[in-house]
Subunit: 131 residues, 3 copies
Amino acid sequence: MKTIQIRTSERVELIDITSTVQAYVSEKGTLNGIIIIYVPHTTCGITINEHADPDVVRDIKMQLGKLAPENAGYHHYEGNSDSHVKSSLIGASETVIISNSQLLLGTWQGIFLCDFDGPRTRNVHLKIMAD
Amino acid sequence: MKTIQIRTSERVELIDITSTVQAYVSEKGTLNGIIIIYVPHTTCGITINEHADPDVVRDIKMQLGKLAPENAGYHHYEGNSDSHVKSSLIGASETVIISNSQLLLGTWQGIFLCDFDGPRTRNVHLKIMAD
Amino acid sequence: MKTIQIRTSERVELIDITSTVQAYVSEKGTLNGIIIIYVPHTTCGITINEHADPDVVRDIKMQLGKLAPENAGYHHYEGNSDSHVKSSLIGASETVIISNSQLLLGTWQGIFLCDFDGPRTRNVHLKIMAD
């Protein structure tokens, strides 16, 4: 198991961590199996989506902002309930298949850490289960 | 594999099952691996979010109620389509890393069974894959 | 690992792939473990929900269409940002427990490939981790 640290720079930011995840798979020398990418923060999520055109991430951020606006009559005293709602909608982890030492992602797929309440330094756990 | 039963008491309720999941990991004596927490009901979900301030859960329930209102011109004859929509938004399972015999959760993270069509007695499957 | 191909016939379509996933588990002869159902496309998702009354799928499609309308001031040049948003809301994979050679699904649960930008031919990866 390995924990990586990511520094975010905006309140809502999706950071492409694909190459870091692949580097860990290569470092471990895992031929086949799965990897769990897990974020231990309640105002973050992990998602897989297009990492070619940055406008896709921009549109996802925009639309999530409509589904959980910053102010919507929430009760939580910290004022970041929108971030918690987004965290549950996106989910705390993704599982990716490892095949022939490579993440078995689609052509356009990248793995993103979503920070919904940044900027902060965030941890992401990487856990490989080998065949 | 183990199946636990949870009795819910409201139509929409998030119940913290973290200690029950940890108890199973301890009982099995698993040192390292992963655990899948899976709900076999189509009007439920499993989510990970803050279990310190109960207002976070209250806000998540409120906002999900806006994303899938109880009445929204649905066609399903049972009248609980809002519950089915929430189930797909939240997802039927979560995967958590086990490290040194402990669930590797963040400080504020708890594991919740979400019942979107209670009150009922619900099953949750716990499945450990050890290293 | 196995990759199956699914031909979709509408722009937004949920296709029940439960029997195909079960057939792979039977073919492999896996007694106990887990299976990851993973879609390598950024405008698709995998969800688990009711496959008895087709109106449940109809209602899920309808409600997701309200959460991510086809036109909502998006910036992505391909004009399918609604599909990308839905993909992140639903998620790229599901994990299902295998118990006594059977998918441990609930009575009403089916596994669906969600195509949010069809019609196309889509791939779905099936990966078993045996006990």
